[in-house]
């Protein structure tokens, strides 16, 4: 059933793909954005977007939806409801499900569930069978089934030769390779290595664990002339490595996550398992470097690494707690803070949250061009709210931001002309 026509009135349209930034109306008919000459249908539903930004639907290129296998933490429907609530119209989901998405069957299952979802779901398949790092998955068949990228996310590819082959073979099939950059022998800790890990008596992970692998991926991409994308960058040194590689023309793209530009290792004090993640929260110096990397374009995307875990995995001793936090519903307000704090302008922010992820993944979206599918997010950048447990739409509650006062959020999320989220007034 085709959704009713929508007229979004008086919003500030920010569309970096078309260099547009100005107040005007936007008409959606038959699920698509129309050009300005189209007559307004009589049955149009009007949305008053005064004081709001109207932007291309946000795209999160790094989430964990936990289906199949761990539906008690999240499933495709609950995860995409959380996406819509956070302003996302599309998400790319990592393959570390149970079983691992390393086959056409698992990809097809995800896509079949996604037909009923509140956001577009782009599956990412594993680089190696069962993410065990020994044999490549069938990139050609996976691509034909609908995956947009490959990654052993959650696990590094230990074998450099396998990574080399992945970059080469993925290029044949037009697939992006996403690297979870972590040198495994150095990363056996549970938080960042430094004064806080010493004070808490927790085993630390040095920043070099990440940088070493980031540099390996850059070296491979550079010598092979292939593309690589670095996931969830957390350190100053990795940022600098990516910046200089880009300056040399290496085909590397990178993302960071809101927690890395918002929090530091201090959040772990008191053994807060909701601040346990991988890579771990780093120092203030790293946080500042990440913000600088966002400002100067070293980072191409902000991704959440939305990693739902139930209380069973988090209400335990810190060493035993699982890594990761949910992020879909807090990404936008935390990212908007970058604009308020002068790190980014609005245009750059929307690039990082929408246009660039679409381009990196090679998917539709990231634009408000006439004729484009109407994936749109209406943002009230001033709306203040306290992020409470009751509000969480995700099945899991593992967020270090619970109880925090945040500013700015999606008031409407529209996917293909259908309203998937409408903030109750």
């Amino acid at each position: 059933m085709m959704p009713v026509p929508l007229l979004i009135k008086n919003g500030r349209i920010i569309d970096p793909a078309n260099n547009v930034d100005g107040v005007r109306d936007l008409l959606i008919v038959d699920g698509c954005i129309t050009d300005s000459a189209t007559a307004i249908p009589s049955d149009v539903e009007k949305i008053d977007a005064s004081g709001c930004w109207v932007v291309p639907g946000l795209i999160d290129m790094h989430v964990h939806l936990r289906e199949p296998g761990e539906e008690y933490k999240e499933d495709i429907l609950s995860g995409t409801r959380a996406s819509a609530a956070g302003g996302f119209t599309a998400v790319a989901c990592m393959p570390n499900t149970k079983p691992v998405n390393d086959s056409r069957a698992v990809t097809a299952l995800i896509l079949s569930q996604a037909t009923k979802a509140d956001a577009r779901v782009y599956p990412i398949a594993a680089i190696s069978k069962n993410s065990q790092g020994s044999a490549l998955t069938e990139f050609g068949e996976l691509k034909a089934t609908g995956v947009v990228a490959v990654s052993d996310d959650g696990l590094p590819v230990r074998d450099s030769q396998l990574m080399r082959r992945a970059l080469e073979y993925a290029a044949d099939h037009g697939l992006l390779v996403i690297s979870h950059s972590e040198e495994p022998s150095l990363s056996k800790g549970v938080m960042n290595e430094g004064i806080i890990s010493t004070r808490l008596g927790l085993k630390g992970i040095p920043t070099a664990a990440e940088s070493i692998m980031v540099y390996r991926e850059i070296a491979l991409a550079e010598c092979l002339g292939k593309r690589v994308h670095i996931a969830h960058v957390s350190t100053a040194m990795s940022t600098e490595l990516i910046r200089s590689a880009k300056a040399r023309g290496v085909r590397v793209t990178a993302e960071t996550a809101p927690h890395y530009f918002t929090l530091t290792e201090e959040a772990v004090m008191g053994y807060n398992t909701n601040a346990k993640m991988n890579p771990p929260l780093r120092t203030e110096q790293d946080r500042q470097a990440i913000r600088q990397g966002l400002a100067d374009g070293t980072f191409d995307a902000i991704a959440t690494d939305h990693a739902p875990h139930s209380i069973l995995e988090k209400e335990v001793e810190f060493d035993r707690a699982m890594n990761g936090i949910i992020g879909l519903e807090t990404s936008l307000p935390l990212s908007l803070a970058l604009v308020r704090e002068g790190v980014l302008d609005e245009n750059k922010l929307i690039k990082l949250l929408s246009m660039n992820p679409a381009r990196i993944l090679g998917v539709e979206g990231g634009t408000l061009s006439a004729g484009a599918r109407a994936d749109i997010t209406v943002i009230n950048p001033d709306l203040q709210f306290t992020y409470t447990e009751e509000q969480v739409v995700s099945k899991s509650r593992n967020s270090p931001f619970l109880g925090e006062k945040l500013q700015g959020r999606a008031v409407y999320t529209i996917m293909g002309g259908r309203i998937t989220h409408r903030l109750a007034a």
Binding site: I195, R199, E315
Partner: protein, 310 residues
């Protein structure tokens, strides 16, 4: 003592959150209890009717015995639970264990656990007072306090001392409690050990990280030697114990660099001939057995104070 001082800690989770006044008060209380252990009948009714659970998820002989003797000398009823760290894999979480124990209304739970932060977590789920008897590589506050009591007895002060701590600082929860405690009381702490066993951030805490044994021990008032934790050697931290003994072991010659009246201390159990040579361990400057004796007094004081008797 500051006038109007009141001991306000419900739990003893670490030294980090104890003020200098708190430490002073605990040590003074401990001193007053020391005499009980010297009596022919070593028992007072102070904690009669109190239930104390020794919940030990990690093997321990001396700490558990020390707490148990302390509790019994104060007439508390004590119960020992030695749980394997694998109990979680059998299905019960620490929180469930805590809730079950809590349902039996104990007054104090003494927890030894192989994970840092476990006592901190436990304290959020039980009504009882929680005393940390060693958690992971975090802290061992009662040991830190008994070390301070021993030094205070011999040196008559805890400020303006040079404390040298030698060995495996990284894994030693005792060292962490000692460092925080001695710094808080106004002494200087110097550490020396292999680079693989020195954790980051010590300098920021105010510790002097030395590059030679001599720098650490020269004119020290206290030489604290730490146990090499043989069970942690799966990570390539040391090439051999033989080399460790020759480069980092405290010998009579090393001890001679310290002040003539320096105290030789060790939290035990000692790897004799590795981190500490027998002639030094048993020499006239050694106060290792005083530490053990003081352990009972300090633990009596802690049990007494957390039950609200300040």
């Amino acid at each position: 003592m500051t006038t109007g001082y009141f001991f306000s800690h419900r739990h003893i989770l670490d030294i980090e959150h104890l003020s200098a006044d708190d430490i002073d008060y605990i040590l003074t209380t401990a001193e007053s209890f020391k005499e009980i252990s010297a009596r022919p009948i070593k028992k007072v009714p102070t904690l009669r009717g109190n239930t104390i659970i020794n919940l030990f998820f990690e093997p321990s002989t001396r700490t558990r015995l020390s707490f148990e003797i302390a509790a019994k000398r104060m007439s508390a009823d004590t119960f020992n639970i030695s749980a394997s760290t694998s109990s979680a894999t059998k299905g019960e979480t620490l929180i469930d264990t805590a809730r079950n124990i809590s349902a039996m209304n104990p007054d104090i739970i003494i927890l030894r656990h192989s994970f840092s932060g476990a006592p901190h977590m436990l304290s959020q789920y039980v009504n009882a007072a929680v005393i940390n008897a060693g958690d992971g590589t975090h802290e061992h506050p009662s040991q830190g306090l008994l070390d301070m009591l021993t030094v205070r007895e011999h040196k008559k002060r805890l400020n303006n001392l040079k404390i040298a701590i030698i060995g495996d600082i990284l894994h030693s929860r005792v060292a962490h409690s000692d460092i925080l405690g001695f710094l808080r009381m106004g002494s200087e702490v110097f550490v020396y050990g292999p680079g693989t066993l020195i954790p980051p951030g010590l300098k920021e805490l105010g510790v002097t990280v030395c590059s030679t044994m001599k720098e650490a021990v020269q004119d020290a008032d206290v030489v604290m030697t730490l146990r090499i934790q043989k069970e942690r050697q799966n990570d390539p931290l040391l090439p051999s114990f033989r080399e460790y003994a020759s480069k980092y072991g405290v010998t009579a010659q090393v001890a001679s660099w310290a002040r003539p009246d320096a105290l030789i201390m060790h939290p035990g159990p000692i790897n004799r001939g590795i981190e500490l040579m027998p002639d030094v361990a048993d020499g006239t400057q050694s106060v290792i057995l005083d530490q053990v004796t003081n352990g009972v007094a300090v633990r009596m004081a802690l049990l007494y104070l957390v039950t609200g008797n300040s």
